[in-house]
């Protein structure tokens, strides 16, 4: 980082930046970034690094850890998949059709961004508990949502809901109607137009939204612990497992699991950047 701070100064030449404040603003940015983000984050790797290979794998290979990872990744993937489908549908109806209350509903889509996760968790468990508004309907059919793995899925759908909608919406809005009219005038049916013209155009955005929702779901804690039974091997997600280890002062164990989670998150962050670059390129906005 120090390279970019240095301003080559020879005696005959003045500073090369015309606008003032470059050194100050970049310096402050880097300092703040290091103190608040980079140095604290590095502690996870440093702490995990004190473990030997066998110790590390013993923690990761523990049935409880494996079960938590399976549950977290599985439920997140499923929730993101449901969000990809319904997100596309929601984006479609909100941009293409007009119906009463459309603007309000459009604003409400961002609720999961604005509603604290604890509130989401406590509300979802109230609605989907066996005596709740929805749970009451499902319980007689022996379907139980709250305090089961299904509850975790419901919470993850909630928190991931805006991602696909908000990545697909701008692409849908920019789509020219004349392309569809051209296809229709060439004899294509609505179904063919959707499958052959619209879907390929929207696909990168849907995929980006899916990845964003998946990444968000992996780390989610607040909403899930309210609606899950949090029982090890059955209803315990990885963040809850880390929390438990921290409560027992098993910092090395927590760090080992956190390393895996962080690596997964970084890989997804990279993937998201690549996807966004790809979809911009595909849409000719690069």
């Amino acid at each position: 980082m120090a390279v970019s701070l240095a301003q080559p100064q020879t005696r005959s030449l003045p500073p090369r930046r015309i606008l003032p404040g470059f050194g100050l603003s970049l310096g402050y940015t880097l300092l703040y970034l290091c103190l608040l983000v980079l140095i604290p984050l590095s502690t996870v790797f440093i702490r995990a690094g004190t473990l030997s290979h066998t110790q590390f794998w013993a923690i990761i290979d523990d049935p409880r850890t494996v079960a938590a990872f399976k549950l977290t990744f599985g439920a997140s993937a499923l929730a993101a998949l449901v969000n990809a489908f319904f997100g596309l549908l929601v984006a479609w109806t909100l941009t293409r059709y007009s119906f009463p209350g459309r603007r309000v509903i459009d604003g409400l889509v961002d609720l999961p961004f604005a509603l604290p996760t604890a509130v989401a968790g406590i509300c979802l468990s109230a609605v989907y508990a066996d005596n709740g508004w929805v749970g009451r309907v499902l319980a007689p059919h022996h379907i139980h949502v709250a305090y089961t793995q299904a509850g975790i899925f419901v919470a993850l759908v909630f928190i991931g809901l805006p991602f696909v909608v908000r990545t697909v919406q701008p692409v849908l809005q920019d789509l020219e109607t004349d392309v569809e009219e051209a296809a229709a005038s060439l004899g294509a049916t609505r179904g063919q137009i959707f499958a052959r013209i619209l879907l390929p155009t929207l696909f990168p955005a849907v995929l980006t939204g899916f990845t964003l929702a998946f990444a968000r779901a992996l780390g989610e804690y607040g909403s899930v612990i309210f609606i899950s039974n949090n029982i090890p091997l059955r209803g315990e997600i990885v963040p809850k497992l880390i929390m438990d280890k921290l409560d027992q002062f098993d910092y090395a164990g927590a760090a080992a699991i956190a390393v895996i989670m962080l690596l997964a998150s970084f890989a997804l962050l990279l993937l998201i950047n690549l996807l966004q670059w790809w979809s911009r390129k595909r849409l000719g906005m690069a």
Partner: protein, 353 residues
Amino acid sequence: MSIEIRGVSRNFGEFAALKDVNLLVETGELVALLGPSGSGKTTLLRIIAGLEYPTAGTILFHGEDTIRRDARSRQVGFVFQHYALFRHMTVFENIAFGLRVRPRALRPSKADIEARVMELLKLVQLEGLAQRFPSQLSGGQRQRVALARALAVEPKVLLLDEPFGALDARVRQELRSWLRRLHDELHITSVFVTHDQEEALEVADRVVVMNKGQIEQVGSPEDVYENPANPFVMNFLGSVNLFHARIHDGEAHIGPSSVPVTAAQDASTIGYVRPHELDILRQHNGEPTIEAVIKHIHAVGPTVRIELARRDNGELMEAELTRERFADLALKAGEEVHVKARKLQVFTEDYSI
């Protein structure tokens, strides 16, 4: 205040935008930097303003080296190509900005600022628009606000980057003569950048023709137009006919005709003739001429342009006649005529455009 550009170079990575440029702009002059895009003219203007730094060389204002002074303290007025008006401020606030940001000791009183802004609004003929926002103005009005804003700080030097570039043809024509009159009134040393040769020749006291980061020629509009220093200047300042010529015994030979030239060496070269320097004769009158056939006649406008093809090698050329001369000759397409060059320019230095 005079501006001296001394040995200025500017590199952007591998690309040399300016190569050792030297120029003196006299106090009170209105100078045009003329050149195609990529010729370095805007970079040079920005270096004078302090909005860009030279890789080498320096700028002197009134003999004083400014290279250590930043844009803030150079006291230049700069009019940006796209005006860069502060969009959240009214016209009044835009013009007053430069006075308002002065250190308290140098800041004029509220009443003085208001008086000054009103005076400037009158100067640029925008009296009624003080409370408008830039987005509510036409292009020409924005241009004049930008100018008034630059003049508010009483700059010693006024720099304008493509001042008429973003305007449509009619407004551009009006503003051109207005700017000339304004300069005659205020006499601020001014430099403006343009790629439009007509604009440069019409408005400026002196024209600096630039190409590929270097100055090709400096001179009065008549000077650069009548006596271009090289084929680039000749070409850039208007349309021109090219003839392959042989120089022999102090004469350039084009086909059967020849024109005396100052070049000494015997060589093959290219002769340049402006369309209005070509005359058309019905009869061969003994002078050396080129035989040609009339292809097209464009008789719209103050002059008549005639496209001709040479009989000997079929090459096309263009002549420009006055309406009277055209009427006297009563030319028609397809007719065979004799073409005479009144003035032929030959550049002996090996020069590629």
